[in-house]
Amino acid sequence: MSTEPATTTQNLEGNEACALGAIAGGCRFYAGYPITPSSEIAERMASELPGVGGVFIQMEDEIASMAAILGASMGGLKVMTATSGPGFSLKQENLGLAVATEIPCVIIDVMRGGPSTGLPTRPAQGDYMQARWGTHGDHAIIVLTPASVAEIYAQTIRAFNLAEAFRTPVVILYEETIGHLRETVDLPAPETIEIIDRQWAAPDDRNFLPYRPGTDGIPAMPRPGDGHRTHMTGLTHGEDGFPTQKPEAIAAANRHLSHKLEPHLDRIEQFEIVAGEDAEVIVVACGLVARAAKRAVAKARAKGIRAGLFRPITLWPFPTLPLQALLQPAGAVIVAEMNAGQLIAEVERHAGDHCRVVGLNRIDGEAITPSQILQQIEELAND
């Protein structure tokens, strides 16, 4: 008899896998607001959370949903909300509050066409920059871009671990198409899933300062009811948590928020390289487009063209060094994205002068196809 922990196989939609991944990752509080194409996440959380002792609240709007998860995270639960582009815009102020107060939380943005109401039922990748810079002021943030239903499940679990470990909001972006795609997923046995919990401040630590970085650079979090008199504020604050106007304290606080993830990139960065070793033409693509790119690269290889794929799974912080290493021997890179050109700027500033950077964009509500990418690869290979 096998002693391997049992996996269960389920046929799931991307949005369902997100909800189940959240619960497996320890999420016990969900606040949300209906918006296409993400509403199935809320509906699944509404039916699943009571069974595991969790809390589901449908709030009156997107702002309230974001505010409620921050409150619940301060209260001690692992928390999530889900939305799409317009709702993500409304959440941005409170996302900034989560950054400033270092409250762990997970935000799902199932991307649809924009701007504004845009194309509620069609896929897009127009929120790459909103996820990075949507809230005002300098800050670090983690953004993940899964490309399959199974990966949505796994990355949602990972999102909770990263949020807890680094006291940061973690955003997951995937396209409407993958949110509504059904694929077979092997769900791991719960006891095999790695779960990371945030560092709580010791109740009896009389010298505790709520924003003094720990040995890993991340401050421990005070739990309400443990007796700490703490002050959590979106005002720029010192290590004691109270607002400050001292230039050196302000600079230190902002440096911390901008750079606190950098010592931990080895744990945060994830990416996939396909046929990268000797590639002359590299395609950079995330999510849905990376699926098309993988097929295009295989077809190009079959034709004898040395093509490869670089797929960031962690979009932000952008995996700069791994891409640079891959681009050293390559002569050209195609950045394929379903927007007017957002990721290409990031690739251009790291590619180096020797490498030609070409954008392949689609902004008509349709997905980029493998043949479009293959054609672009062939053109560059023949240059």
Partner: protein
Amino acid sequence: MAKTIEFHDEGLFHSGHAACPGCVEALAIRVIANRIGRNAVAVVPPSCSAVIVGPHPNSALDIPVYHTSLESSAASASGIRRALNASDRRDTEVIVLAGDGGTYDIGFQALSSAVERNEDILYFCFDNEGYMNTGGQKSSSTPWLAATGSTPRGKPSKKKNLVEILAAHGIPYVATATPGHLDDLGRKIDKAMTIDGMRMIIILIPCLDGWGLADDVGVTMARLAVECGIFPLYEVEQGRTYTLNRQSKTLPVGEYLKKQKRYRHLNEAQIGLIQAEVDEDWMRLLEKTGSRR
């Protein structure tokens, strides 16, 4: 005795719109558009109304439509109203065609503030008691114990009483209406157009898909909702003067609830609790209208 409703169709709402087959919201919009006439602009947030008047392939509504964001209807309408006033176009009516989610929930802050400023806007709320355009989740207008996608075991809290909230603002005119009482709806639109300032008509829209109804019972359900007293037809002027338009409550709520899939999980005891609540609310309303049977 059969009664004929006089209705002049000026061709302001076109066939070929994108409502679900049998949807009585389309019927309500047809009445509203033709009563108000061409000298109007409609503000429409994301909602079933947006689908109905919006994209198919030209607007089904023959007046200008400003499709605003979900939280903004009353604020957007305020801007249009003030600009029209400043341009000496006070006779152009600014109407809002919104759903209950965009009115009771996310749009409530903008609505409350527009009423407080007493903006000259005629606001129609198509109340289908949930977020039906996103597949049927609860709103704060969803009634107690109704099942939705986000309240699969039944909603644990009461429907928000928007009429009373707006009456407490001292709104010049607020009324309830349904597409099962078109003469009453038409009269209320005409009356609202003679009043200056903020006016709200809340129209109950039985949602065929969201409530689990047959395609041909939209009008019937709207009438049942009134006849069992669960959705009384009444008007409030200046927040003080109440008029009850249908004086009698003639049916038990079970006649209404048992025809809807969103209530099929209810037992007789729960139906009794809903009946008791409806009876209590009805008595409270009668006290306000000063009428008794």
